[in-house]
Structure formats: structure tokens, C-alpha cells
Amino acid sequence: MKEKDIIERCQTGEIEAFKLLYNRYNRPLLHTAYRMLGNTHDAEDAVQTAFLKVYKNIKRFRYKSKFSTYLFKILINICIDMSKKKHRNKKVELMEDINLKKPNYELEMEIDRALQKLPSKQRECFLLFTVGDRKQKEIAEILDISLGSVKANIFHAKLKLRSYLSEYTEKGCV
């Protein structure tokens, strides 16, 4: 089914149509939110809030951008708000998932710490590009910045991650 048809059904308030959108986007959304927020619980909360927000506002969606751009824009804003709240409450909990207590979890934690150290725009650009699987042009639309700025942010994010993770790089883990 075409995405436009699904959206039209969503605009009539049909919850079943939202499930189709959810099935299409839940993976990149969850992964992006997870990398931005650092834990599964918050990531799921962010995706749930994003879908609720889409449900409330989808009648006003006028196809000025791709639906995925619209959806990711909402998710990124929610993640930014949630991280701000987390920082305010000084409850930064990194990688608390039981699922991560596996042989590789130390590296996973280190990657997450390194990501959290990145300036917010660099992290958003890099995560949308890698985990969110968005094209650079779409990232520019999602974050309301220029394409050049997206390229620069991704490049500098990679440079910084390379340096933060140098210990693991040398060990050959990364």
C-alpha cells in the first residue's frame, strides 16, 4: 500500500492505519531514540510520544515534506526535550539495560558514552545518518540546517568518535 494512502487513512483517525506506519518506521525510530537517549525505556517512551503527537496532528500534514522527515523531526524534538529534562534532573543513566550484559556490553557502553560526549547537532546528524538511515538531504530538512552543515557535523562527529574510541580501535574491538 502506498504511504500516501496510509496517511490519508490515518487522517480519518483510523488506528489500524497507524499500525502500518508503525510497522514501517518503528525500527529506525527506536534505534535512533535509543542512541540519543541511552536506554530502551526512554527510547520506547519517545517513540510512543512521537506516535501520539503524530496522531493528534496528522490532519494538518500537507505533504510539504516526506512523511518520514515529519516523523523524524517530531522524534528528534521529543528526544531533545527528554535529554534536557534528564540533564536537569541530573539522572543521566547510561546503558542500564539488562540486555546489554553480554560480552560486548563494555564496548556498547563506551560507544554510548562517546555519543553522549558529542555536541548535540553532531550527534543528531550522525545518528540520523547511521541509525536512522536518513539521507543527508533529509537530515538537513529534519534539523532545519543546510546540507553543508549536515556534512560537516557528520564528518566532525566521526572524527571525535574516532578519537574517543581510540583505545578500543587500537584493541581492534571497533
Binding site: 499500525k19 520506547e44 556498547e108 564528518f155
Partner: protein, 204 residues
């Protein structure tokens, strides 16, 4: 990092073709690409297990709650709208009443000089008739139906005081149409009562 070709390629300063040629022999760029690919794939490779079905159940129930809320809100909105519409109609009716009262009833239209003269002539003619009738009336009430004559006399006193009031107002504003009309009506009343008075006295 001494070689900057990779950076230049990313920012579009070096073409893809040139860059491909370059990395064939540049170990540094090869290493950077390799590292970047590894970092990207490591960031992509999330070990956490998500439960999309469970999450959908949560989302679905929150959407259903929201749908109910929207429906209830729209009912409340519809009711409020109906009440407000009725209230608005009532307010408009009341306001129209006030406007009509203030502008069309209380504010008397003013007469032109010619119309004032016409009214004055009419009043003069009636007053002359009244004078003639008054000459024929015996106000001492010595004969005939005394009760009826007393009633006429009493009524004449009332009309006289009305006429006096109207004339006082007209002295200040001779162009007031309504008071002119009331005066004419009062004078006609007086004339009629006097006629009756004369008739009753003649019969007796």
C-alpha cells in the same frame, strides 16, 4: 592525520573519481574509511532487544484513549457552541431592543419650522373651539347629573395639567414631534370632554 583528501572529498572539494584513484595508494585515507565504516556499523549494531509488538500495544491503547478524549471534547465543544450560539442570539436581540429604544423611540425626530407652524395652527384652532365650548359650560354644577359632571370636571383638571406640562416642554424645545403629538391629543381630549359636558348640562 596528514592527508586531507578524505575530508575534501566529504565536503565536495574532490570528485569521487579522483578520490577513488587517491585511495588506491593512500594508506591513511584507507585507514580512515575503514575506521569510519567500523564506527558506523558499531553504532548501527544495537544489541538491545526491543519489543515492537508490546510497544505497539501501548501506543494503540494511548491512541484509543486519545480518540475518546477527542470525541468527548468535540461533544463538549458542540454543546458549548450551541449554548454560545443561543446566548449570542439573545444578546443580539437585547442589544437591538436597546438600540431601537435609544435611537428610534427616546430620541425624538425634530420638526422643521414649517411643520412647527402647521402644528401651532392646528393647536390654535382646537384651543379656539375649546374656548367656545368653555363659554357654554357652567362649572358651578348646580343642575342635572352632578356625579357625571364632577367626573368630567376631574378629568378636565387632569388634562389641563398634562397640557400645561407639554407646553412647558415645548417652550424649551418647540421642535419635539412627540410632545407636539401628545399636546394635540390632549387638546382633542379636552375638546371632546367639554362637548360631553355641554351635552349633559343641556339635557338636564
Amino acid at each position: 592525520m596528514s592527508c586531507s583528501i578524505y575530508e575534501k572529498f566529504i565536503f565536495g572539494q574532490v570528485t569521487e573519481k579522483d578520490f577513488k584513484q587517491h585511495i588506491k595508494h593512500c594508506k591513511e585515507c584507507q585507514k580512515m574509511i575503514e575506521h569510519d565504516d567500523q564506527i558506523e556499523s558499531r553504532v548501527r549494531d544495537i544489541k538491545t532487544v526491543f519489543h515492537p509488538d508490546r510497544l505497539w500495544n501501548n501506543i494503540e491503547s494511548s491512541l484509543i484513549t486519545e480518540k475518546e478524549k477527542i470525541r468527548n471534547n468535540s461533544n463538549v465543544y458542540r454543546m458549548t457552541f450551541k449554548i454560545m450560539r443561543t446566548a449570542a442570539v439573545l444578546i443580539i436581540v437585547l442589544l437591538s431592543g436597546v438600540i431601537i429604544k435609544n435611537y428610534f423611540i427616546l430620541q425624538s425626530p425634530l420638526l422643521s419650522d414649517t411643520r412647527i407652524k402647521q402644528y401651532q395652527n392646528k393647536e390654535k384652532a382646537i384651543i379656539e373651539n375649546i374656548k367656545d365650548l368653555e363659554d357654554n359650560v357652567d362649572f358651578s354644577l348646580n343642575e342635572g347629573n352632578i356625579d357625571q359632571q364632577l367626573r368630567y370636571k376631574e378629568y378636565l383638571n387632569t388634562v389641563n395639567s398634562q397640557i400645561k406640562d407639554y407646553q412647558q416642554v415645548l417652550d424649551e424645545n418647540p421642535a419635539n414631534t412627540h410632545i407636539r403629538d401628545y399636546l394635540i391629543r390632549a387638546l382633542k381630549d379636552k375638546k371632546q370632554v367639554l362637548k360631553e359636558f355641554v351635552r349633559v348640562q343641556r339635557n338636564s
